[in-house]
């Protein structure tokens, strides 16, 4: 019960202090909308439906990785993060509470293109029961990558730079713009090591029916990445935050 009170209040505080601030709300809406328009202008012959999985994945990725990395690094530089480390709650509860806000923000970002697309096309045949957990899993793995960045960065600008360093190569290697089969042979193994590859594949399957892997395999891979990243993050937190 005590841990739950702490968890809920950390989440509530983060949502109020960071995610519900006007710049972040507008960023969460404007970025996905801009990407949607860019894609439509660049390839007017492509239908919106085909673009949707990629737009959703990009929105989640950009919405989560930098947000968690930046908010934690910001709190660490202002020392308020120390207060969480000194609270009598387990590090797991604290980390999960910090992640929860980012994950919710990422899910919100993912559905901005969906709302936009719903004005143009009928989305009723998409498998939403698959889309929602897929978006959630992409958000969780992306948030964990953001956490890994937060553990490594000392300053906010470092966190932002590191986020981009990870995000952009991922976008080009995950099969979003270039199908994995068309990538140079030496780059393909890298694609299979990225959680986003599996997330995008689930979304493609659930929305346009064009998945390369079975959803079970992709969800399994995402769960495996999430567990692995969480383990690495916890180890790094223990080593770097408790000196």
């Amino acid at each position: 019960m005590k841990s739950w009170i702490a968890f809920w209040n950390i989440l509530k505080k983060d949502i109020k202090n960071y995610y519900l601030k006007p710049p972040n709300i507008s960023r969460g809406i404007i970025f996905p909308l801009s990407w949607t328009l860019m894609q439509l202008i660049r390839s007017p012959d492509k239908n919106v439906l085909q673009l949707l999985p990629g737009l959703m994945a990009m929105s989640v990725l950009f919405g989560t990785t930098s947000m968690l990395a930046v908010t934690i690094t910001f709190e660490r530089s202002g020392r308020s993060f120390e207060r969480l480390l000194l609270a009598p709650i387990s590090l797991n509860v604290m980390v999960l509470a910090k992640m929860a806000g980012t994950v919710l923000f990422g899910v919100f970002n993912a559905f901005v293109p969906v709302v936009f697309a719903s004005f143009f096309i009928d989305l009723s045949f998409a498998h939403w029961a698959v889309v929602l957990p897929a978006v959630l899993m992409i958000a969780i793995t992306s948030a964990l990558m953001g956490l890994l960045i937060a553990v490594s960065a000392e300053q906010v600008f470092e966190a932002q730079t590191l986020s981009n360093f990870f995000r952009f190569p991922m976008l080009f290697l995950c099969g979003l713009f270039v199908p994995i089969a068309s990538l140079p042979v030496f780059l393909r193994p890298l694609s299979y090591l990225l959680p986003l590859t599996y997330g995008v594949d689930i979304l493609k399957g659930a929305i346009v029916g064009m998945n390369a892997f079975s959803p079970a395999l992709s969800f399994g891979a995402l769960a495996f990445f999430a567990a692995g990243l969480f383990f690495v993050c916890r180890r790094q937190i223990n080593r770097r935050w408790i000196l």
């Binding site: 009170i5 202090n17 308020s80 207060r83 000194l86 000196l243």
Partner: protein
């Protein structure tokens, strides 16, 4: 209440804390005095579970801090050297948030936050964002936040550093009041006068080692091996030096400036015979004062560090 045994902390080749041992009794104010880089913050960080000891033991209320840091943190209140509350939140919300971290329910945390705002004279500022607070107010709210869950022991790291004189005075009064209410307080400071004024026991730390510890009288006794009295008279007693030494065997008489006389002895000096001597000689005595070493003298003697070094660090003398 607190037992620290052979505590050591190294960072690479640098030893920040070098096998220190001490204990803090329930209900006392224990001061940790030393210059910057002496190992004060490293020690406090290990005690509160923010740093891992390289070696040694720390127990607080019977809880092994190394093994159960979270259990120990539940009974601690921690005030760091720099306020670590949330700038974006107001004073009241900051206190409520801190209470929530200790699992306190909503009604309980709101009522405790109100009480603390009143007690720390911050009620008016309760709805102002923390970033708009003055340094003194920030420090007071940080102390209030540390008390929100009624901890058994309070850790204060340099509580009055860098804040105005009035706020410092108020904070010292609060610390003494907390002790009166039964709180156990561990504080680090580099202000000798502050330690002298409020601490029951003090440890001097230098280069990671405790060079002396004890109560004020114990520390003073450790450097002073005699007694001295300074008298101020209406005229010079220069011509009476020999006679004074004869009358008070075993004492050493020194004539100072502005008609002052210092009589030093290995035994305690009884004033009445001294006063009678001067009366017989027709000399009026205006003032008589026993000379004792100050904590500053003790610190300088035991650490070899000039107290001016401490004053230059972080904000000067109080």
């Amino acid at each position: 209440m607190v037992t620290v045994t052979n505590l050591k902390k190294t960072y690479g080749n640098f030893t920040a804390v070098d096998g220190i041992s001490f204990d803090v009794q329930k209900g006392e104010i224990f001061g940790f005095l030393g210059p910057n880089g002496a190992g004060k913050t490293s020690t406090i960080n290990m005690m509160i579970g923010l740093a891992r000891p390289t070696a040694g033991e720390i127990t607080i209320s019977g809880i092994d801090v190394r093994r159960y840091p979270k259990k120990a943190q539940a009974i601690m209140g921690i005030v760091p050297d720099d306020s670590n509350l949330y700038n974006e939140m107001d004073g009241f919300d900051n206190l409520c948030f801190c209470a929530a971290l200790y699992g306190m329910k909503r009604e309980e945390r709101e009522s405790k936050a109100q009480q603390l705002l009143e007690r720390f004279r911050l009620k008016e500022a309760g709805k102002r964002p923390f970033k708009a607070y003055s340094k003194g107010m920030r420090r007071k709210l940080t102390i209030a936040a540390a008390l929100i869950h009624s901890p058994q022991i309070l850790f204060l790291d340099e509580p009055t550093t860098g804040i105005d004189v009035e706020s410092s005075r108020q904070i010292r009064e609060m610390i003494v009041e907390l002790k009166r209410q039964g709180a156990t307080i561990f504080l680090t400071t580099h202000y000798i006068e502050e330690a002298e004024r409020i601490c029951d026991r003090i440890a001097f730390i230098k280069e990671g080692k405790i060079v002396a510890s004890g109560s004020l009288p114990e520390l003073m006794h450790s450097v002073s091996h005699g007694y001295a009295v300074r008298l101020v008279t209406d005229k010079s007693a220069q011509s009476l030096t020999g006679e004074l030494q004869n009358r008070f065997k075993g004492s050493k008489v020194t004539i100072g400036q502005e008609h002052s006389v210092v009589i030093a002895s290995s035994k305690r000096i009884v004033l009445l015979p001294v006063m009678e001597f001067f009366h017989e000689k027709g000399i009026e005595v205006y003032e008589a004062k026993e000379l004792r070493p100050s904590l500053e003298d003790v610190f300088v003697k035991l650490t070899g560090i000039e107290s001016s070094v401490l004053r230059k660090e972080k904000g000067g003398k109080r």
